[in-house]
Symmetry: C2
Subunit: 340 residues, 2 copies
DNA sequence: CGCAAGTGAGGTATCGATAACATGCCTGTG
DNA sequence: CACAGGCATGTTATCGATACCTCACTTGCG
């Protein structure tokens, strides 16, 4: 007497219609609160909907209605990095507020994979995409391509394309923090960073160099290391810097992994070196890293999503809008030493 | 002479067919590498595909082919928590390997929101879902419901439902770490945790209590605080514990926020108290927290996704499989004090 | 009492892609 | 020279939902 053991297939509108002895059209009307349905019929249909556990198939619906999937794609390079998961969080929150869902994908910094993912998301007819591009070839993101969807770039600017993007003030933050070190009297300042082929890294390095220049301090290449992607690598690089003949008395670290590596190296070598670093992280205050360039990656995600929403709502008939570039500001935080 | 200024609408298969002067069917065949198409026609079709920038509409395709969207839903309670972003990472990696994409949603621990999200994802016909349930009412996840999709629960077990789930060994980890503190000679051990209404918290607390019992130490409620969800709250609670008349000489912290709060309180009060905590975190070694219950949230995500893949591939005709419960083990890590 | 306006519900075509079936053409062979 | 058979392509129906049009029946008013 109970239900079938395996009620697998999802009931369709036709099932409901049959069950209520009406046409599918009437079911559709009831579900749309169309006033042209009699109260009695409405009741009967709703009862059937309930009895069968019917749920409208959004896929079919969207196909029929025009091309809107209610999904936006998010393509990031490395989800393991808290920066990107925070960014995803920001995107999700704005998308959610707008009734959209986020399809999350990870490229692992692989340009080929990125290309494929963008392709697939487009084929899936997402309503828009936020992409943190892995490389500097952005040809697959060209908004001129026929079936393309609105795209906003995150954290890195477009190359040769008219795309919106949201950036961090990498240059300004690095410059200000470096200036802070110089103002404290340091003249031998080292730099730990990522390869400058990554745009953000290059900007941070540029900020560092400009700060030196403005202070009349010349850049010493022996104090520069640009290849550390992991904490252990950063620690090793910092060790090397701290063991040259006249070692730097301060280090600017271009991201949190380099900061942590430098902190470990300094702690383990028992060397007194002042640190400044890009990216805030939990416990920065406890460790007593004096200068941290802080910003909110969630804000980056939110702004990117907002920009995308705006692009998406724009109809083709409206005048073309110039691509916009939003720069999220950074704050230099001065943490006292927790141990006093 | 150049392309139209706004080449908006995505070209359809019919457009390609017209452009190549063939029927849509032929285009479909070419796209499927069907050998029954002459080389010449194939060339022509491919040229048209290229010329128009055609991309197959996956939505329409999936609708026609049967009910598989190539998407799986991920519903978590709080993406801001690194635990869940790591979990998401694990899910994404396994999904990606299986050609699936992940729709990421956040409930903010709101049961109503969770209900709605599950509903929407189902309506969207995701192929499966991984859910970290916010509350203990799981009625909306009942696999008996007609149109429901396979569900795997993450981090928390199902209530009254036959659902697969992947858990952390909360009990075992807490017990082992607490036992470690007791073995080191502590008899006054405090507990900092979350409200026991959350399953994981209650399990960790249970592990703590069992360890005490096994060591013949009686539980002192004055040493227990179960309401701290943030680092500041945890710090405050720890301060209180450390200022009672005969304060605990060791603290077991049920998650990383409590551990960090306790660490801060201890540092700032200048009190010497031994810490043990659930959840590993960056710098735990540097801080010298002696005992950390570590596990990999990504592994949790991976296992959950694997379980889901298995469920999804199961056809209705195969015999029913008992719901499975996978427990991801924890490791108690002993960090020496970094400063020696 | 007759006809127009109004009301509730069904029929058909469509979104884009595709499986199953159907058709037309060319070649080979008795 | 006619017809069987294979090969390349076109037609039709379908997935689930819905916009638009049509139709049957009721009601109102002159």
């Amino acid at each position: 007497m109970t239900d079938a053991p395996t009620p697998r297939r999802a009931p369709t509108m036709r099932d409901v219609a049959d069950h209520a002895s009406v046409s599918p059209m009437t079911v559709s009307r009831v579900l749309h609160d169309d006033p042209r349905v009699s109260g009695q019929t409405r009741e009967r249909v709703l009862a059937s909907v309930d009895a069968l556990g019917y749920r409208r198939n959004e896929v079919a619906r969207n196909l029929r209605l025009g091309h809107t999937s209610g999904l936006i794609g998010l393509v990031v390079t490395n989800l393991a990095n808290p920066f990107y998961s925070q960014l995803a969080l920001g995107v999700e929150s704005v998308a959610g507020q707008n009734g959209l869902k986020v399809v999350l994908t990870n490229t692992d910094e692989d340009v080929g994979r990125e290309r494929r993912l963008v392709e697939e998301l487009t084929a899936r007819r997402v309503d828009g995409m936020i992409v943190v591009p892995a490389g500097s070839d952005h040809s697959h993101l060209d908004p001129q391509t026929p079936g393309s969807v609105p795209v906003v770039l995150g954290a890195r600017p477009p190359t040769n394309l008219a795309l919106d993007c949201v950036l961090v003030d990498d240059f300004g933050g690095a410059r200000e923090a470096t200036a802070g070190l110089l103002a404290a009297g340091h003249t031998r300042v080292g730099f730990l960073g990522l390869p400058p082929s990554v745009w953000t890294s290059s900007e941070r390095f540029r900020g560092f160099c400009v700060a030196l220049e403005e202070a009349g301090v010349s850049l010493d290449e022996r104090y520069v290391r640009l290849q550390q992607r992991t904490i252990p690598a950063a620690e090793e690089a910092a060790r090397e810097l701290l063991r040259v003949r006249r070692p730097p008395t301060a280090l600017f670290c271009a991201n949190s992994r380099n900061t942590l590596g430098a902190y470990r190296a300094a702690t383990r070598l028992g060397v007194d070196v002042e640190l400044a670093g890009f990216d805030d992280f939990e416990l920065a205050d406890v460790l007593g890293v004096p200068l941290i360039v802080a910003y909110d990656p969630r804000e980056l995600g939110r702004r990117a999503a907002e920009l995308l929403m705006e692009r998406m709502s724009r109809t083709d008939t409206e005048p073309e809008v110039q691509p916009r570039r939003i720069v999220v500001p950074t704050t230099v935080v001065r943490y006292g030493n927790a141990t006093r």
